[in-house]
């Protein structure tokens, strides 16, 4: 893996201290480099100054002897002028005449008297400047010997620069060691300080991640005993948020239960109405049987009437069972469920002199195993919502269509349109809370079911007025749908 990506994936508790460490190391390297460069420059200038002084002295002292070509005098001067205790020691000094013939050297065996100067040795010297060879730890410098502005010879000196170079090495080692120790110390301090600084954020991050996966919990004092100041305020705010959210969840639960109870009341009322009508007929039929049961024709007709009445009651009871006790029925959604919905909602709609018009494509024969319970619940909630929104006497239209990729359900009403906040319950990318002022949870439950089925909801205006709410349910493998159910 790319080291940068790996670094990016590290926790901030490690990443930030590591960055501090890298920064301090970089600063340390830059500082060390600058100090050493400056030291080298100073040392070389110092060395050049010393060498220049030595050469000036040599040149002035040997000048008369060079003029007389007196090798002994030159040699004697070289030996007498050799410094015994100095920062730099001349290792070799060679004096030549103007024709590069050696007059004398303090190392006559290496530079024989009256021989021509060795060209290779001469190459070591740069004109006018000192040259420092850090490998051999030698410095080379040459100077002309003048008399009456005429060059009469030249002095070549090789200095032992090991003292200065050793000093430079010692400074380098000391610097590196000190910087390394200081950097390590500061890095360690920085690491722990920054780590402690980012720890509250890390704790907060863990709790937020838990909250995202449904485990919203407050931050206890035991998790960060030393929390104070800013961290304490952040944790306090988070805990306050958690408390509010939990209260909100409890409220939603309570509202959901109340909604179910209200819905149950309405359905029970409708059922009572549905059962009450045939019951009246059944009682009449019972009276008829009692009075005219001996007449075969009347008996058969009455019994048939009783049967139809009882079947009607059975249908109503079964529809209620499938809708409100879905766990007892894991069957799949069919077109029959549309009729059940119509049957169940009929009393509610009738009370508002409304009618549910179901427009279903005749070719639909399969809903790909969609679960009947959630589908019926969602359709009922949408139709009830449409009924509530529409004026008395309006028609509610339920359209069911399909394509090879999806099943489309549309509920159209003739109301004044869905309020924006309520519409967001259905269409917002992330399921939001229940908006203030909302009287029921019907649409919130629809969104929940849609999410479980992987369906998308859309809201658009109905012509000439009202709202169309559409559910697009993508076709999926059966097992996925069963899992959602």
């Amino acid at each position: 893996m790319n080291p940068l990506r790996r670094f990016g994936q590290l926790s901030s508790a490690f990443r930030v201290p590591l960055m501090v460490m890298l920064l301090m190391t970089a600063v340390s390297i830059v500082l060390s480099e600058r100090v050493l460069t400056r030291l080298s420059q100073n040392q070389e200038a110092y060395l050049e100054g010393l060498a220049g002084s030595y050469l000036d002295g040599i040149a002035a002292s040997v000048s008369p002897s060079v003029l007389r070509q007196d090798s002994w005098e030159v040699f004697d001067v070289l030996l007498r002028m050799k410094p015994q205790r100095a920062a730099i020691q001349p290792r070799e000094t060679v004096i030549t005449d103007a024709n590069d013939i050696i007059l004398a050297s303090d190392k006559p065996d290496a530079h024989p008297t009256l021989e021509r100067m060795d060209a290779e040795f001469q190459m070591e010297f740069s004109e006018g400047r000192m040259r420092l060879d850090t490998v051999s730890q030698l410095a080379f410098m040459a100077r002309s010997i003048n008399h009456n502005e005429e060059v009469i010879g030249k002095a070549y000196v090789v200095f032992d620069a090991s003292y200065l170079l050793n000093e430079r090495r010692e400074v380098l080692l000391t610097l590196l060691l000190t910087n390394a120790l200081l950097t390590m110390l500061l890095v360690a301090i920085g690491f722990f300080v920054v780590r402690r600084m980012v720890l509250p954020m890390q704790i907060l991050e863990i709790h937020l991640q838990k909250a995202a996966s449904g485990g919203l919990e407050p931050i206890s004092d035991s998790e960060f005993p030393g929390a104070g100041g800013e961290a304490k305020r952040i944790f306090g705010a988070f805990n306050h948020l958690v408390k509010s959210e939990k209260g909100r969840e409890e409220l939603v639960d309570r509202l959901t239960k109340e909604e179910r109870m209200a819905s149950l009341g309405r359905i029970a009322s409708g059922m009572a109405h549905e059962i009450n009508n045939p019951l009246g007929g059944l009682l009449n039929a019972a009276d008829t049987l009692e009075k005219h049961g001996h007449r075969e024709k009347v008996r058969f007709e009455t019994i048939d009437l009783i049967k139809r009445g009882l079947l009607g009651i059975r249908d109503v009871v079964q529809a209620a069972l499938v809708t409100y006790r879905p766990e007892r029925s894991s069957r799949m959604f069919t077109t029959k469920d549309l009729e059940d919905v119509a049957l169940l909602l009929k009393p509610e709609l009738t009370s508002r002199t409304q009618e549910l018009i179901i427009s279903s494509s005749p070719s639909i024969c399969s809903f790909d195993g969609l679960p009947a319970g959630p589908m019926r619940q969602a359709i009922m909630n949408l139709v009830l919502n449409a009924s509530n929104a529409s004026p008395h006497g309006a028609d509610i239209v339920l359209c069911v269509n399909q394509s090879k990729d999806a099943i489309y359900l549309e509920v159209r009403d003739a109301g004044e349109g869905l309020p924006g906040a309520v519409g967001e319950i259905l269409t917002a990318p992330i399921k939001s809370g229940i908006p203030d002022g909302m009287t029921g949870l019907g649409l919130w439950v629809v969104r929940q079911i849609a999410d479980e089925l992987g369906a998308t909801l859309s809201v658009k205006p109905n012509n000439p007025n009202g709202t169309i709410i559409e559910i697009v349910i993508p076709r999926r493998p059966l097992e996925v749908i069963h899992a959602a159910a």
């Binding site: 007196d70 002994w72 040699f75 004697d76 006559p108 065996d109």
Partner: protein, 294 residues
Amino acid sequence: MPSSNREKFKSRRAFNLYLATLVLAPGNVLSQTQNSTTIRFGLTPVFLNDDVQLLLVIKNYLEIATGYTIELTTRRTYQEITSLLVSGQLDAAWICGYPFVKFENELEILAVPEWNGKPLYQSYLITKFDREASRLSDLRGDIHAFSDPDSNSGYLVTTALLQENGLSADTFFKKTLFTYSHRNVIRAVASGLVQSGSVDGYVWEVMREIDPGLVAGTKIVKKSDWFGFPPIAVIKRFGQTQQANALKRALLSSSETEAGRAMLDYLRLTGFVDANPTLFDSVKRNIDRLGGLL
């Protein structure tokens, strides 16, 4: 210049020295000295004239032994000391046999040191210790170090030897140079600055004792015949003065007193003797041999 005087100066160098003497010597120098309580004593670089301790030892002994204040004078070259002596600016001087012979008409011997019991010494031809050289001919083409142009052992002997063999220093050696001290000849040879040198045998032997590290860098190629040891000389006019007599007595009796023995020990000498000028006949022969070449 009269012809008798012309003969007296056996070389151009001696003549020049004579001229210098005339310039440097005021007429009343001697008369002042004769009444003085000071003896002006000159030292040539025959030995370690740059050794301060040695100068103190000599001064100390001579002052005790003569009763006079000794004023020591050293110079870089033999010629300077000889000029001062001949011109009367020095009362006595330890000079080499060669300038003594050159100015034997003006000078007389006060005393001659004895080395190993004899007032004699040799000249050595030396070279570097690790060099394959055992005779004069092996030194051909060398850069050669002489001590002083007025030194018998450090110049005259080798020059005369070459002359004897039909050679000359200018052609036999690649180059010659003067170090103006026997000790410096040894240093020049030992260091490799020159390949060979002519040195006083007495100085070489004594240096071998007191600075064996330096002398170990050299070896003897050839020893010369024996010559009269460099004498303590005075100008003849001074020779009969009380100071001269006191100085002579002090030198001749130096082995008899502790301070004298201390001086002799320092110099590695056995004593001083009264000697005849014929002691330097061998030097004179070499001068004669070289004739006008000097």
